[in-house]
Every structure is written in C-alpha cells, then in structure tokens.
Symmetry: C2
Subunit: 636 residues, 2 copies
C-alpha cells in the first residue's frame, strides 16, 4: 500500500509485486528506524512490515528506536503491536537499552510493559546496572525510585561462572566507569554495599583502579575509603589496591591507601612482587621512599641492584639505609640448555637481568649473536622462557612483514621452522623461532671431508623429504618461498631439517608463475650441492655411471612421485586444484638438487619395496624396485 | 700486605697465601668501592689489587666510584693509576657515567683526563646526552660550557643502523624523559635544533609523546610548538603527533596540535586509521567532536556504527551531521575457511566486529562454541587472523597453567597440537590451538558402523605412531600427560592425529612413577578402543586367533620397538638416560591400546621389511618379518 503523504520519492517504499510486505521491507523498516525517518516507518508498518522482525543479533525495530532515543517512533511501534519483551541475542530488552541511553521518558514509557524492573540480559545486566555503567544519573534515580535492586549481583551463564565471571554490582560498574557522581549517589543515597564482592572476590576499590583517568580514580577511591571499603582485596594477578596504585604511578593514590591502618603493605602479587619492588622497578623514587618510610620491608627482591641499574644512586643509598642488601644472583644450576652449540651463551643470557619485550628476553650484543642478516641480525633469546632464535627487522620492513605473515599462516607445517611468536618494540619487529644448531650449508661444509656413513645417508634423504613437504604445504597455504637455498634450511639438534627464512616469500594470487619462482635456484647452490655429493660419486660403491644417464630421469621422477605419495596427507579432493598449480614437486626437487636426488636413488635402487604398497605401485609403476625407510610407519 | 689502620676485622683483607694480590682481591676491591668503604679500598690497593680490573660487564673500580658519586674514592683510584679511559662492555667511560649521575665535581675531575668531551659509548651516547636523558641540569650546563656538541646525532653499530636505530639528539632524550627544564635550556640557551630527526625520521615532538606523564608532555610540546617544531612527522606505526595525542586521551594536547595551521588532520597511521577514527573507537566523544569541528573528514571508517556499538547515540548523530554514513561491511568472499566442520561459524566470526584481545578475535557465544570443558569451554577464534580453537581458563587456574606451561615447552613437538599463543584479559586465560575437525573419540564413534577400508587402516596406524612420538617427546621435555584418552587426541582435516589437553600434565622431577601415570588408562578408554577394533576381529581376514595369544606379546613388543626406532630422531647419547626413565614406550602403548597394536601387527605381519634396514634388524631382531609404510621415506 502506498501513501501520498511522503515527498521524497527515494524514501518511498517500492510496492512489492504481490502487494504484501516482503522480507526486504522488514530490513527497510529497521533501517528507517535507525535513520529516524518516522514517516517511512509508518508507511512500512502500514503496508505490513513485521514490527517484531529481528535482525542478525536480535535487534528489533523497538530496540533500535530506543537506541536512537526517539520517543515518537517507540510510541508508533508500540501502537503497531511491537513486543516490549523481545530480547536481543544477548538477552537485552528495549527496557535495558533505555537504561544504557539513560532516557527517563523511554524508561517511563516502557516500565508498565515489562515484567520486572530488574529484568536482565544473559550476562545478568539490569537496566539499573547499565545506567551505572554509562553514568546515567537521572535514569539511575528513576529506576531506583521504581524498585530497582541496588545490590543485585550479576548472574551469568554457566561457562562464564565456571571461570568466575559475573557477580559484579552497579557500584563496581560505576567505579570502573569513573562515574564519580554515580558512585556518590549509590553510596550515600541508595545504600549500595561498599564491600560487595564479585565472583572473583573483587570489590569496588579494585574496579575503580581499572579506570585510566587518575583524577577520577582518586575521587572515587576517596569516596570508597570514607565508606570503609576493605583495602586488602585482590585484583587480576592477585594484585592488591596498593600494587595497582603503584602501577598507576600515582603518589597521591599510594598515599591515600597508606593512610589506612588496615593496609598490608608487604602483600605480594601472583609473581611474588611487593608494591615496593614494583615501585623500584618502575623507577618511582618518591613512591618507593614513601613505602619505605611507611614501613615496607626491603627484603623483597634485589632492590639495590635494580636501583643501580637505573643509575639512581640516591635511591640505592636510601634503600640500603632501610635495610636493603645487594644480592648476588646464584646461577641456576638446575637449568640445562637444549642447544649444545649455543648452550654457554644461553646459560649466560638466562642469568642476566634484561627488561622483557613482551614475552621475549633478548640482549642485542655480539655475545648472543647467531648470524648476520640484511636487516637487524639474528640473536639468541628466550620466548616464554624457551630458547629461541630471534630475527630482527625494522618495524615497517617488507621483509619482516613477509616473514611474519608466512610463518603465521604455516604454524601447523611441521617441516617449517617452528614459529614461537613475534614482538614489536621501539620500532623493531622481533620474530622468534625454534633455535636450530646449523644451517644445511654449514652442515655440508663441516662434513665435506667425512666418509659416507649410514647415518649421513639417512640425513640426506631426510633433508629431501622435509623439503618436499615443507614446500608443498607452503604452496597449499598460498605462499611461495622464493629463496630456497642450503643456508635457508636449518638442522636441529636431532639432525632433522626444516625450512626457514621467509622474508622474501610472497602470498600468492594463484599464478603458477609465482610458484615456479621457488624452482629457480641460483648457480652457487647447485655448485655447493655438487661439491658435497661429488664425494659420493667418487666412492667406489656408487661408481655406477647409469645415474648420469638421462634415460633414468623418468624413473627417478617416478621414484620421487612415489616418495611424495608416501608423505601425502592432503585430502585428494582439495588437492586437485593445487596439484595443477604446483605441477610435480618431485620434478622441482630433481631440478633443484639433482645430485641429492641421484644419491638417494642410488642408495635405494636395490631395495625391494614397491610390492608392500600395492595401491601406490599400481598407480605409479616405478621401474625401480622400491624405496626404504619410513618415519611414520603406517602411512603408505 | 696488611695495615693496622682499620678497626673492623671483618673488613680487613685476608692476606693471600703467597703475599700477593689474588683475583679475589680484585673482586673485593670492586665490592669495597660499591660499599663506599674507602679505607678498605686503600688497603686492597696497597696490597696490590688491580686498580684497572674489570668485572663481567666491564665495570672497573673507577666506573663504580663514579656511579656511587664518591669524589674521594675517585681521587684515590686515580692516584693509584686508574685508567680514566677504560670502557665498559657497552663502551661507556667513567666520564659518561658522570654525565648520568650528573655530578659536576666528578665531571670537572675527569674532564682533563678524557680525550674528547664528546666521547661516546657503542650506541653513540655522550656524557651530554646522558645528562639530558637523566634530566641533570647542572651537568648539562657544565658540559655545554666545556664544548659539548648540542646537536650531535647518535651513531650506533651497524646492526642497529640497519634497522634504523640511532640518530637521536640530546633534545629528543630530554623530551622523552619529560625533563621540561632541560628541554627549555636546550632550546633557549644552547641552540638545540628543534627539527633534528633521528634515523627513523622522528623529531623531538614524537619523542615527547612517548612519555606517560601528560602534564609534562603538555609543557614540553608547548615549548616545541613555540619553536616551530614540524607537526607532520611520524612515530612508530606511522602515527602522527595528532594520532599519538588522541591515544593519550588528552583533549588539551589535541587542541594544541589543532591550533597549528600546518597540521594534516586526516593523515593515517600504518593501519590506515585517522585521528578521528581512533577517537571514536576509544570512545573519546569530546576529542572526536573537536576533530570534526576542525574539519576532519568523516570518510575514514564506519564511524556511525562504532559510535552506536558503544551506545553513544549523541556522537553517532553528531557524526552523521558531519557527513558520516553508516557502512554495511560486505562479506569477504575471497576468504575461505580451512576447517570444513567449523567453516560457516568461522565465516561469520570473521565478518563481525569484536574488540581484539591482544592477537585474538573471539566471541563467547554458543554459536562459536566447540566443546565444554571443566572450566571456561572451547570456542572458535582467530589468532593473528588464523583460525584457532581457544580453550578458556580462569586466570589463576592450575589447569590453565599446566596447559600453557606444557604447550610452551613442546612447541617443536609436531605430534602435539600446534600452539599458537595465549592471551590474558579480564581475569581469563585464552589458550589458542590449531583447530582440528574432531576428537579421536568422535571419529571412532562416527565410524563405528563402517566397513574396514584401506584408508581407515592407515588411519589406525597413524594414530598409534603419532601417539608414540607425541608421548615420547613429551617425556623427553620433562612432562607427563596424565590424561591419555581418545577424547584428548585430535584429528585434523588431513586425518592426522595429534595429542591435546595438557591441563592435567605435570612437569616431572625425573621420578619414573610420574611417567608411569601416563600408562594408567581408565577402563572406559579400553572399552571404546575395543568396541572399535572388535569390528576388525569380526572381519574374516583377521580371524587368526594367534594375536590373542600371550606368547606373541614379545614379538609385538619387538615390532613396536622397531616402529619406534624408525621414528627415532633423538640423539642416542642424550637418550640413554631418558630411556631408563621412560622404559619402553612400545610396551606402554601395548598396554594402553592392545587391540590397536594387535591390529597393526596383523596388517603387517606378512610383509618382508626387516631386511631393508640391516642396522636396525641386527639390533632388535624382530621375529616378525617386517612392517610397511613410511611417511618420511629416508629415516630408517
């Protein structure tokens, strides 16, 4: 149905073909409410749009009308049968939203229609609590005068209660929000319980300290202290209000709390730190001195050394006068490094004091340097207390972004160097990786003179296999490495190989040319690999010249395809598309490390193997007899 | 040599046996200087302690004497031949340290002895810069009057320069330190260049905004603006001073910057965000309004939606009046989830707006819930934009700590579920893991009715093999799982198995009893595994009853030992000790999943395999003929 009352043709609803309201009209109705176009709302309602339609998150036209604060639209919707009890997906009714926006007229309008002034959403928020959260003084008073329960604790869903969420009151909300007037009203006019606790045992004092505006925090804490709030409660990380005040770097706040006779000045947080230790660490001389003067124990860590490290000799002296002694930290004899090559440096790095960069401990010093790079070098470090190699980039570096992006997308690729995490600080990007013993380049160089041993044979095959899988999975994740070289293949303490150095990698567009780039190897690599395997060629066991015969190449190709199929974990359906993109990885490697391939082939050509894998041998029919080995028995 | 001048016997140096100064005396000398015990210093020097001895970090007695600010001790050391040019490991001389402590008497004493008033450490810090860093006004003036170069840029080492570290000046140091008086003196008395840039292109204005004390920042920025500092520079993340001022939530600072005619109000940071967008995101209504009134473009993101999400209808209206329009974000059609099971929910989660918890995007809502746990449940999430499963714990939970500790220590274990990272927020711990399709329990339940296929056989063997390796590596890292069950083994989209759920794991003390606990399986698991493999027993191919004969157990043991040896990557030397601790993992599994073991054995008993691995077959002599399969050809 159309009306002629509306002048803007763009805002006139187009009639649906059957003359009845369509689903599209319902969306238009919600949009019209959001846009506060009351006439369009009316038109849509009159032609039958569903007044109780709920969008994705459960928002109905009435919820939206309340949010934009339009009493006239709310009236209109109610007169067209809007249900005032409809709940959004999070359980909030229009009445609760009216508490958020703090509109007393709307609250008045809706109050007679709701079952209970204390109705709450799934997280237990009532209209009264929301008014406290958003600092809506008038709404707070209206709700209070109409029976809202001031000291109600939030009741939340089971999953949340299991991790001790919930249980907060309106006073805590107002304190966290920094709403001084609301806190004052709640305490002095409405009888709010100053010592109510949430499910984690926190009271309004702890909540007040969550706000970032120190002036508001001071005003609210003054109010709470006047009402005898308990000062010996704990926040996150078992921090006391005193510790939280130190972290806020506010001498006034610390002073206010220290005036309380009940304060436990030496209480520690979950890391065992006292307020005084934190003050010294944070270079807060005046606060540290105040704490000492108020009787804080100086037996709470190596205060003197920390003060000296910060070049604050005055504070160091002061602390000594108050009984602090300089500790010498004994080396941690129980701890053993995993890396043998970097063991001594790691022991040293572990012992020294360093400011943490997020989860990373590092010291940019030549004693801890692993290698040079084109940017900031590779250094030893500890990430979450695990030994790591840390590659540094400048913050905006494209190489750094490539490296991190590729590693983030390939965390589950077990043939790519394990990515621990990254940190950013002072314009630097720190990429933390599993610490390996050598690069393949170094490994080959070190062993150039050695005789061929069985162990070494396994190693060569292992490298080939790992590279196969690493590159294949990398391509499946959409990345191309673009810099496959022996110095970018790492060897860990178990002699396992993994692929590293993704700072030249690119996220593909699916263009086969991009992936092909992974197959161009510069000549130097070829040379190195040749030099290494030349030894084997000279060994009389391998002096069968047939492997240099081109006619064998197809056979080797079959063999490699066979190896690849062994390692194949990828769902075939999904794989079809990628296969056509990548082509035959076996062939890539054949081109890339021809002597390695030849070598593996020679070692294995006399084994009888294929018959154990009937499915695959039927498929690929290798002309060689088979291949030995198997890390994971059970995956033909 | 002993003297009788000292009264405290505890502080008298013990004579060394040969009458000459020992290395111990050198350490005692440094300690005596630190303790400011001048008489003891003198005694040690007189009996021959090395006046130029340098401790671990290169600290000499003279460095220490300067740090504690004792002119008399400095004099004494110099008279005993202390070298005033000795450098600490970081290149700092006693003169530079005198700049840090700001002691003019010491500077005067040392100045005639140094080569250059502008001598610097390896990072390019001069005494003058250090005086600026530490706000030492008198030292600054003294050094200036004695020829210190005011506008020297720091020259640092090559590794640091490559990532654009270095290049800062004393003015920047004073600005960052919040030393208002120093900034004023540098600008007005010493001719500091207000627009000097460091190697990243940052000037003193950007440095000033690094300080956390807003009042000091305001005072310094006032001084800099009065000297016509360039306001269109960039800090970390390409943030402009205006953006940094918004992040500081300071209306005054924003106002000061907006008064500059040259300001580029719409400049974006490296994430493409303008000052206005940040102000709206940070719920800074007054700042957002001021920016609009000063002409900031409202075409910089979905401002209206963000304001509405924060329930600030006023601001939303204001923004609309200034040309902001409500965007509807189109779904990202290019993005495809990797998980098929969770694909739809992931698409939805990716599209919606959520506040980030560090690197994690999550929404605690039943639509994104994967499973219940004894604590906070497991939910879908994106960690660094990768799809993950997120296990929630309450912050102080022992289970949560176990889980994270074990995962952190086993990142490189490729048979343990890949650990992405953890976040803490609002009293919750979020543990982010690779998203798998099913648990083994569910997988077995779903397939209970299916006929035995080749694919399924591989799968069974794969599970066994992965479990082997996962638990073995776990034990090597010192952890025991303590809750090995099919519901704690995950199956990914490639049907690979990995071990998960470490919230009952313990870090071992090396007690074999602890590890043994991993072998106690409750009965229900046995039952489940039995139920699954019962199918196979009923299959006529496997109706040879011999596998239930106890006499075969040893053979199976050998077989499993053989499988284990295939996968063995561990250095044998290192392994010896652990082996005795762990015992035979093969036997553990045999006890744990007897039917699985039997099944594998049956499948493989007819293969001829052992002869391909002469080394191993000689060692373990399996009575079975061999075993098939091999994920990584090349690792016998």
């Amino acid at each position: 149905m159309e009306t002629e009352s509306h002048n803007n043709p763009q805002e006139r609803p187009t009639p649906s073909s059957n003359g009845r309201a369509s689903r599209e009209d319902n969306h238009l109705l919600i949009k019209a409410v959001k846009d506060e176009k009351i006439e369009l709302v009316q038109q849509l309602l009159e032609r039958g749009a569903d007044v109780n339609f709920q969008e994705e998150w459960g928002w109905s036209p009435l919820h939206n009308a309340v949010q934009v604060g339009r009493e006239d639209i709310v009236d209109l919707l109610l007169s067209h049968g809007a249900d005032p009890c409809l709940r959004k997906k999070n359980g909030a009714t229009p009445f609760i939203i009216a508490g958020i926006v703090g509109d007393v007229k709307l609250l008045k309008l809706l109050l007679p229609k709701v079952a209970d002034v204390n109705e709450c959403d799934v997280n237990g928020f009532t209209a009264f609590m929301e008014a406290a959260v958003y600092g809506q003084v008038e709404a707070l008073r209206f709700l209070y005068n109409n029976g809202a329960e001031v000291n109600l604790h939030r009741k939340t869903v089971e999953d949340q209660e299991r991790i001790k969420k919930g249980g907060a009151t309106a006073l805590m909300d107002a304190a966290e929000g920094g709403h001084v007037e609301v806190v004052e009203i709640l305490l002095h006019e409405m009888g709010a319980d100053v010592n109510a606790r949430d499910n984690r045992g926190r009271n309004a004092l702890v909540y007040a300290l969550l706000n970032s505006d120190v002036e508001k925090v001071k005003a609210i804490i003054r109010l709470l202290l006047d009402c005898k709030v308990d000062v010996n409660v704990r926040g996150e990380g078992r921090k006391t209000p005193l510790i939280l005040a130190v972290e806020k770097k506010s001498l006034d706040l610390v002073q206010m709390l220290l005036e309380q006779t009940a304060i436990e000045i030496n209480d520690t947080d979950s890391e065992g730190k006292t307020a005084l230790l934190l003050a010294v660490e944070l270079k807060l001389k005046k606060i540290a001195q105040l704490l000492c003067l108020k009787g804080a124990s100086t037996k709470c860590g190596d205060l003197v050394t920390i003060a000296k490290r910060n070049y604050d000799s005055d504070l160091a002296k002061f602390l000594r006068q108050h009984g602090a002694v300089e500790d010498v930290r004994p080396p941690d004899k129980a701890w053993k490094p995993q890396s043998s090559r970097w063991g001594e440096a790691l022991k040293h790095l572990r012992r020294i004091s360093r400011p943490m960069i997020g989860k990373l401990k590092i010291f940019i010093d030549k004693d801890y340097k692993i290698a040079d790079t084109s940017e900031g070098g590779i250094y030893l470090g500890f990430y979450e207390e695990q030994e790591v190699a840390v590659k540094r980039f400048s913050e905006g570096s494209t190489r750094g972004q490539n490296e991190v992006s590729c590693l983030q997308s390939n965390r589950a690729n077990s043939h790519v160097v394990t990515f621990y995490g990254s940190e950013r600080d002072g314009g630097c990007l720190y990429v933390c990786l599993a610490l390996c013993e050598h690069t393949l380049e170094k490994h080959l160089a070190d062993r150039r003179g050695e005789a061929v041993q069985n162990k070494e044979d396994e190693f060569a095959r292992n490298v080939l296999s790992s590279l196969f899988k690493a590159v294949e999975e990398l391509h499946l994740s959409g990345y191309t490495h673009q810099d496959l070289q022996p110095q970018n293949i790492l060897i860990d303490s178990k002699n396992a190989a993994c692929l590293a150095d993704f700072d030249e990698s690119i996220k593909g567009t699916g263009d086969p040319q991009e992936i092909k780039r992974d197959l161009e190897v510069d000549e130097s690599v070829m040379k190195k690999m040749n030099a290494f395997y030349e030894k084997r060629k000279q060994n009389k066991t391998y002096q069968n010249k047939t492997y240099q015969n081109k006619t064998y190449q197809n056979t080797v190709g079959d063999l490699l395809r066979f190896i690849r199929n062994l390692g194949e974990h990828i769902d075939e359906q999904k794989n079809t598309k990628m296969k056509s993109k990548i082509g035959e990885p076996s062939q890539y490697f054949q081109e890339k490390f021809p002597d390695l391939v030849m070598y593996v082939y020679k070692k294995l050509q006399n084994t009888e193997f294929a018959k154990h894998f009937p499915k695959i041998s039927t498929r690929t029919k290798p002309t060689c007899d088979g291949i030995g080995g198997g890390e994971q028995a059970g995956q033909p």
